[in-house]
Symmetry: C2
Subunit: 195 residues, 2 copies
DNA sequence: CATTTAACTGAACGCCTGTTCATTTGCCAA
DNA sequence: TTGGCAAATGAACAGGCGTTCAGTTAAATG
């Protein structure tokens, strides 16, 4: 047999990406084979090459889509107003965007070293743009006099690490709702940077 | 030819572990082959099995040694006195211990999913003990009334993520000396948790 | 209903994987 | 100087890897 009942690229395509994301998040890019991904989808390995030119592109696309979606979503958040409100918006946005996307976050932060140099440069520049969004807010707050940090760039990295680290241990069936988490982290971030 | 000039287990053993650590930190456990490690050491792949029963044990030993060294070093730090001083000691210790060990940190935090279940449980419990050290300090500070955090466990995880994230971007040839970094992070941590 | 086309199979390609082991070599102690 | 042992070699094992492609089948088109 060859083509299966009900098969269609609009169905199989997304399934390939979902399976790849889940498996790579679980076991890592190098540890997951194209045959494993294919088995998860329910096809033979060769069929995957209708949807990606190669394994590397599959990883890159997953990471690129995540970063693009992140930046697109952030661009829809209101960034006017006083720095304190902007920082609160950033903190809340970051948590609400990342918490439901544990697999994407995991892959995007753990598999950087498995990107080839060109792909790495692309992802790195997207990540940099996101970091800069936070850094801009911190600088604005310093200009306003409401923030006081020893080093703006270091603080940017520290805050992002703190927020992103959340994805490594947060469990949706755990003790704390998203709203509560958001409040706790906003408390920490606000106190850490305000004058 | 077989045995090489000057070869000795006291020399080759450490070299195997150093090569494995460097390569795994760079490319990931699954992406590094025993033959690559052997080539780095300057022996054939079979010779590695004089120093490790298998590849999995090699990874586990690297991570176990790192966590053991971390806990041993922490146990030598004075943990008496007021909570604020203890927290400062923890922050400084964490940074000074981790900054010169970028490869170990990378491997210990990125390769957890490549440990088999038994090995994972061991490493996880060591990590937990380290987290608890910080949590104890935070609770002591709350009892003293000098700290005020919304949730102690979440704050513990947030602070550790912030501190550990430093290893992901810090460069020894960069703009900032260790002392400066330490001061910046202490400023952030102190403000975030104090009442 | 006939034809085209998109989707998939299954086998094959050359190469790499972790691990084992008989064999060889070089160092050290007697 | 000679034996014993530690420390390697290098070939082999069975299996998995990413990727390609001629052939087959189901769905879409006219």
């Amino acid at each position: 047999m060859a083509r299966k009942q009900g098969s269609h690229s609009d169905i199989t395509g997304p399934k390939v990406r979902e399976a790849a994301l889940r498996l790579i998040a679980r076991h890592g890019y190098a540890a997951v084979s194209m045959r494993q991904i294919a088995a998860e989808v329910g096809v033979q390995a060769g069929a995957l090459y209708n949807y990606t030119p190669d394994k590397q592109s599959l990883l890159f696309d997953l990471m690129h889509d995540h970063m693009s979606a992140l930046l697109a979503a952030w661009s829809n958040v209101d960034t006017a107003g006083p720095a304190l409100l902007r920082l609160q918006a950033f903190t809340g946005f970051h948590i609400r965007f990342h918490l439901p996307r544990a697999d994407q976050v995991f892959v995007s932060y753990m598999e950087l070293r498995n990107l080839n140099p060109e792909n790495f440069a692309v992802i790195e520049s997207l990540r940099h743009r996101y970091e800069d969004a936070l850094e801009d807010i911190l600088r604005a707050g310093e200009a306003e006099g409401v923030f006081a940090v020893a080093d703006t760039r270091v603080t940017t990295m520290a805050v992002i690490a703190m927020l992103t680290g959340l994805s490594n241990w947060y469990r949706h069936d755990g003790r704390l709702e998203t709203d509560v988490i958001e409040a706790i982290y906003w408390d920490l971030v606000r106190k850490a940077v305000t004058a």
